[in-house]
Amino acid sequence: MRISVEVHAITCGLFPSGEGELDLPPGTVLADVLNRLDLKTDPDEVYPALVNGTPIPPGERDQTVLRDGDYLVVFPPIEGG
C-alpha cells in the first residue's frame, strides 16, 4: 500500500524536501512510520501527527493501522508566536 506524507520538521532524514510517498506493508502502524522518518530530537518531545486530518495522540500511535491512500501530516513541537 502507498501513503502520502507531509513533514514540517526540518530534521526529517527520509524526506528532506518535506513531502513524498511511502510504500508500506499491510498492517503498518503510525508509530512505525514515525520511526522511519528519522526525526532526530529529544525523546521527550512529541511530534503532532495527523492521519487524514485527524490528530493521533501519542498513546494511540502503535495501534493506529495505516491504509492505502492515507495522508499523513507531521509537524514539530513548537509553540509561541
Binding site: H8, P55, F75
Partner: protein
C-alpha cells in the same frame, strides 16, 4: 545582587526623577518584571481608575535575570492598567532595551502623573533626566530612535518609544524598542501617549552581579545544553515562529476571515516557506536573515526585505531595507484573519505597525472584524472614506494600517480595538475577543486548551499566558487540558517575572529554571518556591481584575466559538467545549465553583 535594588521614580507632572530602594520583601515573593511590576501597580493605584488618566502608572520592569548571561535573558515588560481591556496589562518585549536598563542599575522605572508637554527620559547609568520632546512629537518610531541616538552622540544607547498611534491614544498602540521589537499587547502605548511621554533612551555600563558566579554559569550552561539540540530551538532559529502557520492550517486551528473559517486556502503564498523563495523582480527572497534578542541562543527573530517594486513602497526608501518580520502572529493577523494572501502586503503592514507603534495582532484582528461588518453592511464606504473593506483586499490592509498608524480617518475606529468597534456598529457578537483583547492565531474550537487559556487569561485573549500547544495538537478533546493550562499559566507567570523568554517551552521545566535563580539571588530558590511565585502572581492578577470589574463572569469566549461548529479541520463539527473545562480548572486552582480564589488558597499563597 541579580536585582539592582533600585527603582527610578519619575513624576511626569512635576518633572522630577528620584531613586527609591526596591522593596525586597515584595521582590522575594513576586520576583521581578511581570510579578513585581504588577505588585507595585496594584499597591499604588485603584483598580477602577481611567487607564488613560494621570492616575495610571506606567511601569517599565526588568527581571532578576534580565541582562545576565542566562540564555534568553533579555526580556522586560510594560505594566499598567489597560486602556483596551480595563484589566491588568503586562506587555513583554525582547531586543536590547531591557538589558541596557538593567545594566544602568535599575530594576524598574515607574512613571506617574502626566507631563504638561511632550518629554522623553534619558538614563545614563545613575543619572536620569527628562527632556523636551516637542521636536519629536508627531514623528515615527523609525525617525525618533536614530534621532535620539544622534542627539546624545551614542549609537550604543537603546531606545523605546511610541509612534503616532500611541500619541493619538489608539487603544491598540504598542511601545516599540530597538526599531522592531514590541511590547505590543493591551494598548500600553496609549498609556505612554496619555502621559505625553514620547521615548526613553538608556545607556548602562554597570553590569549585573550574581550571588555565586561559578554556580550560575554552570546552571546557565546546563540549561543551554538542553535547549540547543531540541527540534523546537532548531526550528525556531531556522524558520522563526512563522513555522507555526503550516501547523495551524493543517490542524484546522488557523483563524481565518474573523474566525468564520479555520483553514486558509492561500496559506502556501504566505507561510514560512514562501518567504524563502526568490521573487521575480530582483531574484531575492523576502527573508534575508535572522536576529536574536540580548543573550538569546534561539534567535527566532526574522529580518525581511519587501519587494522594492511593490506598489506600497515604490519611491519610499525607508521601507526598502531589512526590517523585522514576518512572525507568525502578524502574518496570521494580516493574512488569514483578513483573508489576504499577498505576502508583500503583509510585510508592508508589519513595517507600518513597527514604524507607527501598533500591536499587529490587535490591528489585524480588528480590521478583520471591520471586514465582516462591511460584508454584512453594518459599515459602508461612507464610514470607511471610500475604502473597500472586503475580505481578501490587500489594498484595504495597506490603506487601513497607514490610517490607523497615524490616527486618521477610519483608522481612528480601528484604533478602538475590535470590541469597541463592533459594539459601536451594533454587532458585538462579531468581536473575536476575550476581556476586550483580540485573539492571537489559535482557534479555540480546535485547540481546546488554548480556548480555556484565552477565557481565563489575566490580560484577555493571549497565546503566551499558557502553553497547551503539545496537548492541543495531539487531540481535539478537552481531556487533561485544564491541568496543562493551570500548570503553564503558573510557569509562564514565573518565567515572565524573571527576565527570560517563554519560547524554550517544555524543554525547560521548572527544575532547569530554579538553579539559575538559586545561584543568582539571595536566599534559597528550590522548585517549589519558584512555582509558588508563579501561582501567587496568577492569583494576584485575578484579584485585581475582579476588583476592576473583570472577574469570573468574563471567563468566556465569543458565541462563534461556543455555538458555531467548526466547518473543517481536525475539529470539524466541534465547538470550544469551554463549559467542560472551567469547573475542573477552578478546582485545580483552589477556586470556588464560581471562579473566585478560596480564602485558604489565598492564605497558602500569602495573599490572604
Amino acid at each position: 545582587m541579580s536585582w539592582q535594588g533600585k527603582i527610578l521614580r519619575v513624576d511626569l507632572s512635576t518633572g522630577s526623577c528620584k531613586s527609591d530602594p526596591l522593596n525586597m520583601e515584595w521582590a522575594a515573593a513576586y520576583v521581578g518584571q511581570r510579578g513585581l511590576g504588577s505588585k507595585y501597580l496594584i499597591e499604588e493605584t485603584d483598580p477602577n481608575i481611567d487607564p488613560l488618566s494621570p492616575d495610571n502608572r506606567l511601569i517599565i520592569a526588568t527581571g532578576p535575570l534580565t541582562g545576565t548571561m542566562a540564555s534568553t535573558g533579555g526580556r522586560w515588560s510594560v505594566i499598567c492598567k489597560s486602556p483596551l481591556t480595563g484589566a491588568i496589562a503586562c506587555s513583554n518585549s525582547g531586543g536590547y532595551f531591557g538589558a541596557e536598563l538593567k545594566n544602568a542599575g535599575w530594576d524598574m522605572v515607574i512613571f506617574e502623573g502626566k507631563s504638561p508637554k511632550p518629554v522623553y527620559l534619558e538614563i545614563k547609568d545613575d543619572e536620569a533626566v527628562l527632556h523636551d520632546a516637542s521636536a519629536y512629537w508627531g514623528r515615527s518610531i523609525w525617525e525618533v530612535e536614530p534621532a535620539l541616538k544622534a542627539k546624545h552622540g551614542d549609537p550604543q544607547a537603546r531606545v523605546a518609544s511610541i509612534g503616532r498611534a500611541g500619541e493619538s491614544q489608539a487603544r491598540i498602540a504598542a511601545v516599540i524598542n530597538d526599531l522592531h521589537r514590541a511590547a505590543g499587547r493591551s494598548g500600553v502605548g496609549a498609556v505612554m501617549g496619555s502621559k505625553n511621554l514620547k521615548a526613553m533612551i538608556v545607556r548602562g555600563t554597570g553590569g549585573v552581579s550574581v550571588k555565586d558566579p561559578a554556580r550560575f554559569m554552570a546552571a546557565v550552561k546546563a540549561a543551554k545544553d538542553k535547549l540547543d539540540p531540541s527540534e523546537r530551538r532548531i526550528r525556531l532559529g531556522k524558520f522563526g515562529t512563522h513555522a507555526m502557520m503550516d501547523a495551524t492550517h493543517s490542524f484546522g486551528s488557523l483563524p481565518t476571515r474573523n474566525c468564520r473559517d479555520m483553514q486558509f486556502e492561500g496559506v502556501k503564498k504566505i507561510n514560512a516557506k514562501s518567504v524563502t523563495v526568490p521573487r521575480m523582480s530582483d531574484g531575492k527572497p523576502n527573508l534575508i536573515g535572522t536576529k536574536a534578542c540580548f543573550g538569546c541562543t534561539i534567535a527566532c527573530g526574522r529580518m525581511g526585505l519587501i519587494d522594492p517594486t511593490y506598489k506600497a513602497v515604490e519611491g519610499k526608501e525607508r521601507y526598502q531595507k531589512g526590517t523585522g518580520g514576518l512572525e507568525y502572529e502578524n502574518a496570521y493577523a494580516f493574512g488569514p484573519m483578513c483573508g489576504i494572501d499577498d505576502l508583500n502586503a503583509l510585510m508592508y503592514a508589519n513595517m507600518v505597525c513597527n514604524e507607527d507603534g501598533l500591536d499587529s495582532i490587535s490591528f489585524g484582528a480588528t480590521l478583520s472584524a471591520a471586514m465582516e461588518l462591511f460584508e454584512i453592511g453594518a459599515i459602508t464606504t461612507k464610514e470607511t472614506g471610500g475604502i473597500d473593506l472586503s475580505f481578501g483586499n490587500a489594498d484595504a490592509l495597506i490603506a487601513m494600517v497607514e490610517l490607523t498608524g497615524k490616527g486618521e480617518g477610519f483608522g481612528k475606529e480601528i484604533g478602538l480595538g475590535s470590541k469597541r468597534l463592533c459594539e459601536k456598529y451594533g454587532h458585538p457578537e462579531l468581536s473575536m475577543t476575550v476581556r476586550g483583547q483580540e485573539f492571537p492565531g489559535y482557534e479555540p474550537r480546535a485547540m481546546k486548551g488554548m480556548g480555556l487559556a484565552y477565557a481565563t487569561s489575566s490580560r484577555g485573549a493571549c497565546h503566551l499566558r499558557a502553553a497547551p500547544f503539545v496537548q492541543d495538537f495531539s487531540s481535539t478533546t478537552t481531556d487533561g487540558k485544564a491541568e496543562v493550562v493551570k500548570f503553564t499559566q503558573d510557569k509562564n507567570a514565573l518565567v515572565d517575572s524573571l527576565g527570560l523568554c517563554t519560547f524554550p517551552g517544555p524543554v525547560w521545566d521548572p527544575a532547569d529554571i530554579a538553579p539559575k535563580l538559586d545561584a543568582a539571588l539571595p536566599g534559597d530558590w528550590p522548585v517549589e518556591r519558584v512555582m509558588a511565585c508563579g501561582e501567587r502572581i496568577w492569583n494576584m492578577e485575578r484579584l485585581y481584575n475582579t476588583a476592576a470589574g473583570l472577574g469570573p463572569e468574563h471567563d468566556t469566549l465569543p458565541d462563534r466559538q461556543l455555538k458555531e461548529p467548526a466547518k473543517s479541520g481536525a475539529a470539524k463539527g466541534q465547538t470550544a467545549d469551554l463549559e467542560k473545562m472551567l469547573p475542573e480548572y477552578y478546582e485545580l486552582r483552589g477556586w470556588t465553583p464560581d471562579g473566585n480564589p478560596k480564602p485558604e488558597t489565598l492564605e497558602r499563597l500569602g495573599l490572604g
